[in-house]
């Protein structure tokens, strides 16, 4: 990938220009990973390949494979960092092997994307988490990776929570005083923000003024959906308690760090120029019409060290449009509707365990 690309405006290409940019690069990545990653080559060998004419023709990998297999396209000594998914709901975690180049691409892509939303000014940054989450620098959880990724975009990084997951009000007040009048950046995981910022403030009755901040958050709505908290409720509730009006969710995953999909003021997630999204019809696995609910596939030209450039996720969503969002950004925009629901399995005959055994 040409690193100069990361300096271009992140949402500046229309559909045709973007296809011209992405298709050859993604095809080249397929070849590169086929040469260097044996399990990936075996997969391509087993699935008969069709002629690639569009992004949808590119062979995808189900994202789950990163949990069950070591998929890397670099020698062991080239591994610079290993990212792991948080793995709260299943015992298996994804392991993503990064070399220096990929790690750099990820950081730069993230900066390019966020600059579009926040400008070039590096804001004082408040992290809704506790500092221990990023202690081990060789192996990161998704949470740690997210925090460090976004951190490069802020300064004076301050952690809001202590290890007991309580708000450290002293630190918070000191931070707000020190940077009074300046725009701030806040970052955290959706659920943590809800549970440990919003719920704590609600319980303690303390008022804080965060109206100067831009709150960026990610990490999925699953736990919030269980509490019937949707994006709108999330935004309204936080605004009520903290005065914060700029809140943006983003969709991303540890398997494709860097090329994240950030929510605009219209509430739409946007694909930047080095990434794209395809929604697949779960009846056929073909491409779903715009507006139709389907399974999300994500494409990114950043992954050089592992075959994660075209991934079929287990999330549901729909493409809302392309090149015509009223926020002005070009490219596809979409929304996520959560994970594919796990209707209870019939249990493969085993009466005592729900794990498929037969």
């Amino acid at each position: 990938m040409d690193p100069a690309l990361l300096k271009q405006p992140s949402y500046g290409l229309n559909a045709a220009a973007k296809l011209e940019l992405l298709l050859p690069q993604l095809q080249q990545l397929t070849q590169q990973h086929k040469r260097s990653c044996e399990p990936y080559a075996k997969i391509l060998h087993s699935f008969r390949q069709t002629e690639v004419e569009s992004l949808a023709d590119l062979p995808y990998l189900p994202v789950r494979l990163f949990k069950t297999h070591t998929l890397r396209s670099i020698a062991e000594e080239e591994v610079f960092k290993i990212l792991t998914s948080s793995g709260t709901t299943s015992q298996q975690v994804s392991r993503i092997y990064l070399d220096k180049t990929t790690a750099q691409f990820q950081t730069k892509a993230l900066v390019a994307i966020l600059q579009d939303f926040l400008g070039k000014y590096r804001r004082p940054m408040l992290i809704i988490d506790h500092p221990n989450v990023v202690k081990n620098r060789a192996e990161f959880s998704a949470r740690g990776a997210g925090i460090l990724g976004v951190s490069t975009f802020g300064r004076d990084h301050t952690y809001l929570l202590n290890e007991q997951m309580e708000i450290d009000f002293e630190t918070l007040e000191a931070f707000l005083d020190k940077h009074s009048g300046k725009p701030l950046l806040m970052f955290g995981f959706t659920f943590m923000i809800w549970q440990y910022l919003y719920q704590s403030l609600l319980k303690t009755g303390k008022k804080v003024d965060l109206s100067r901040a831009f709150l960026l958050h990610s990490g999925g709505w699953k736990k919030l959906a269980e509490q019937a908290v949707a994006n709108a409720t999330f935004k309204d509730s936080l605004q009520e308690l903290t005065g914060i009006t700029q809140i943006a969710n983003f969709y991303g995953m540890v398997e494709q760090v860097g090329s994240i999909f950030v929510e605009c003021v219209m509430g739409h997630l946007h694909a930047p120029i080095f990434a794209d999204v395809i929604v697949r019809d779960p009846e056929t696995w073909g491409v779903a019409e715009h507006g139709e609910l389907g399974v999300i596939e994500v494409l990114s030209i950043l992954p050089q060290s592992y075959p994660g450039h075209v991934l079929l996720t287990e999330d549901l969503g729909r493409v809302l449009g392309e090149d015509d969002c009223s926020c002005g950004r070009l490219g596809k925009y979409f929304e996520i509707e959560g994970r594919i629901p796990l209707a209870e399995l019939r249990g493969c005959s085993d009466t005592h365990s729900l794990v498929a055994t037969a």
Partner: protein, 403 residues
Amino acid sequence: MNNLDFVIPKENSWEELLQVRPLSPFASVSSDFAKALSQQLLQQGQTYPEMMALGFWLRRANLSRLEREFTEKNTSDQFRLPQGLVFHIAPANVDTLFVYSWMLALLVGNKNFLRLPTQDTPQIKHLLNIIGRLFEDDTYQALRQRNMLVRYGHDDEINLIASAHCDVRVLWGGDGTVQNIRRFPLQPAARELNFVDKFSLAFLDAKAVFDTRAFEQLIQHFCNDAFGFDQRACSSPRLVVWLGSDHQVKQAQNKFWSGVVQRTTKQPPPIPVHLRMEKLITQYEFAVKWDVQVPASTTAYVNRIELSSLDKLPTDLHCGGGLFYEFSVHDLKELIPVLSKKIQTISIFGISGENLRQLLSINLCAGVDRIVPIGKALDFHHHWDGYDLLSEFSRSIIFSKGP
């Protein structure tokens, strides 16, 4: 026995169940109950084909056939009586199976303590509704006292007590369940029937498939076998083996699978999206671990994996939902390596059953419990996994009349 979550009939207790005596084999109250249940199922079961199948199995003609088979076991120097108390542990993968197990034991005269599947699927709810309502009728007072359909969690105490008192323990479950339940001792003279994880296959003659005039019917039969119970029944065909030359097989495969794809596109089987995703992932898992080919598919309902060998067939990776392992052979004999104890049903099309029978007899294969025509894979029979349930649920008494 205090932790039973759900009991039909409501007023029944374990203590009472232990005290009452069994009934005579094929007592009229038992047959009447079975017939009434059959009627209800056939009237109300239209939405669920498996309910219709159960209703059909319980109809008068089949009950008489069962009774005849049972009484024919009585000879001038032998007769049969019920075992006593049967403890059934129902499977989670086939909603209707507990009724078959229960009704056979009941017809023979036994008292029954039956653990229902933990999951409350619409099918099970429907069944329990019908059964509950029938039990309200005082005509079936004698059966009310002698049967308990219960639901409970992972409760060692209940398993322990039920195991200690039953005369037969019937376990429909996976290998894991069998190991778990075996921890609970039975009475020395009690009998245990374990229906363990099995794997089934369809065996088709390529030329016969290509040439058949009843092609649509073949496809319909295969789809019924394959997509019923989300392809998670032990008898669901999960491996499709073709017999024929390479060319014949190729031709037949193309025709056959486009037929299946067409049919499932027109009438999509109720496979949940996550299961369609599981199948896809299984294909990738296979591709990484084995030497396989994965043909492209235009529907998310049919997924195939062409194996390059039947050796070490990874049966436990199969997730159901319309996933088909495939293999072709030139000769019947090539099937032998796969016919382990794990194999239950071979459903056949265009294959001579007699040849298969010879193959099994001559080679003394360890596996295979059933050979049926395609379309009959999911039909229940009281001879199951090598057991004759009418015999197992009863005991025979021999009397010698002297010289």
